[in-house]
Amino acid sequence: MTMATLKAIGFRALRSVVTLLLCVTLVFVVLRTAGDPVDQLLPAETPPSVLEEYRIAWGLDRPLYVQYWSFVSRAMTGDFGKSFASNLPVLDVVLETMPRTLLLGFSALLLASLIGLSLGILGAVRRGTGIDRVAMGVAVLGYSMPIFFLGIVLILLFALQLRLLPSSGASSLLHLILPTVTLALPLAGRIARFARTATLEVMGRQFIRTAHAKGAGRLRVLLQHALPNAMVPLLMFYGIEIGLILSGAVVVETIFAWPGLGRLLVSSVSMRDLPLVQGVILTITLVIVLSNLFVDILHALLDPKVSLARTLGGAG
């Protein structure tokens, strides 16, 4: 690992910390401009004496910057208070539901990559043919499909008409199938499209022509020369997709009653269970920032020169 690589990674890490801090600040600003946090965070029927007690306990009589600091430090330690609905600590509820969202997200990512990369690479290799057009047609249908509509169509077909798969709950692995497919198909469309562009871009470069000229077979050129080089832009693309997968999970989990973070978020927003909303939002932010940092570190290791230029250029 060179000095430049380390520097790029360090810069990225610093930037992630700043971004996280900004997100926490954003939540604090929203919380404070929405009104008195005691009114916001405690149930409406709380007696005034208790409200006053909390106001002092939470230090709301102190200056704003002190309050901000204590908000940040509590957020850092994962202390978001207790949920109105269940009276359980927010952190416990979040930690209990998070694995289910991660399971759903990862299985969708896997399925989408399988479909998307195959379609995309196929399209690139058979560029301009009927196969390419069909592959890209399927891709555009996929990513234009609203997730909630796709979910409903799949429930109609596989749960209500054919009665093959369960449409709600999470009691078995069978329950994972429909939500995974729903979340994966639009993603597969985006991956297919991006993979095609990335592969085509690499295949147009000089070293691929050289490999062909040296007599390497088509498959060998593709697998040994083109694809490894197309991986770097694809990796960056995956970094951007994490946020979109989690957004999609919110809708998918609600449709299929999959008890993960997304469904928790929607129910806590509609019940205005504010401590829970804060906890879930900041957890999701943490997941996205960390996965982006992970992608950036991988990127810096794979492609030090480009990465440093990109980092210092500030393009994000």
């Binding site: 929203v30 555009v140 499909m145 609203p146 409903i152 919110v250 999701i284 982006n292």
Partner: protein, 289 residues
């Protein structure tokens, strides 16, 4: 960059449209006309209930011509509801896209022109936007402030603002030191004139392409939030809200949810295809996702 010939870009923009793009434009024009003149097209008002005519199937499933696309759980005419819902969804998506495009572009221009702390703040905000997708920002605000239509439109407009900002900022920074800009400045043009008369027109095409590609995302954000019951509230209606309401009746009246779903799907599909075509025609450098 690939070595694709760009000479075709000189041809008139709408010369020899591919049939698919023509179909897309036809669909988009149709829904805009229907949305604008909703009162003329809708057979009934979207809130008119007829409890004796609940769950009527559409004509193609053996229903009658009184309710071409059938009725919902309150006996409301689905065709009329789709037409009015289309009006709401299109209006919000158009306003959201415009506000996002203008706000994002101004932020980017300011960042590129002023640099320093302004630039740093705008860039940090785009980082925040990346770390916290618009759906989550929207949900946070809706949780704390409750729902109202103005807040809702602003939240929808957040979708993709950072892409306009990056585009505008990049353009200002790369062109600022170009000779023609120096010449204009030497002739006494102020910063405002340089930015709006000389730099902005250069990226106008890219901005239009970006807005077209962004539009499906904006529609999806609005319909998703309304679908979740956190966007447009009854008695108002939106295509997403119709799907959300129809979700409970899939077993005996699937058309309540599926028909508005098809309308959303066709609209995002048409706009995506048109956006791709426009980008290939005008500006192959715009980022997509």
């Amino acid at each position: 960059m690939s070595s694709v010939e760009r000479s075709e870009a000189r041809a008139p923009l709408f010369a020899d449209l591919p049939p698919v793009i023509m179909l897309c434009l036809f669909w988009l024009a149709t829904i805009v006309v229907v949305a604008v003149f909703a009162d003329l097209f809708a057979p009934a008002h979207y809130t008119t209930q007829d409890l004796l005519a609940r769950f009527r199937p559409p004509v193609f499933l053996g229903g009658d011509w009184d309710h071409v696309l059938g009725t919902d759980h309150l006996g409301r005419d689905i065709l009329s509801r789709i037409i009015y819902a289309l009006r709401t969804s299109i209006l919000i998506a158009v306003l959201g896209t415009l506000i996002g495009a203008i706000g994002g572009t101004l932020a980017g221009l300011a960042a590129g022109r002023l640099r320093g702390p302004v630039d740093l703040s705008v860039m940090m905000l785009t980082d925040v936007q990346t770390a916290l997708p618009s759906l989550f920002i929207a949900l946070t605000f809706l949780a704390f402030f409750g729902n109202n239509i103005f807040l809702f439109i602003i939240l929808v407009s957040l979708e993709g603002w950072e892409r306009y900002a990056r585009l505008a900022r990049g353009q200002v920074i790369s062109e600022q030191s170009a000779d023609y800009i120096k010449a204009v400045e030497a002739l006494g043009a102020g910063p405002g004139r340089v930015v709006f008369r000389h730099l902005l027109p250069n990226i106008a095409a890219s901005l239009v392409v970006q807005a077209t590609l962004n539009f499906p995302g904006t529609i999806l954000l609005e319909t998703s939030l309304s679908f979740l019951g956190l966007g447009i509230q009854p008695p108002g209606t939106s295509l997403g809200l119709m799907l959300g309401e129809g979700r409970g009746y899939l077993l005996n009246a699937w058309w309540i949810a599926v028909l508005p779903g098809i309308v959303i799907f066709l609209t995002t599909l048409a706009m995506s295809l048109f956006g791709d075509w426009l980008r290939d025609r005008l500006d192959p450098t715009v980022e997509r996702d």
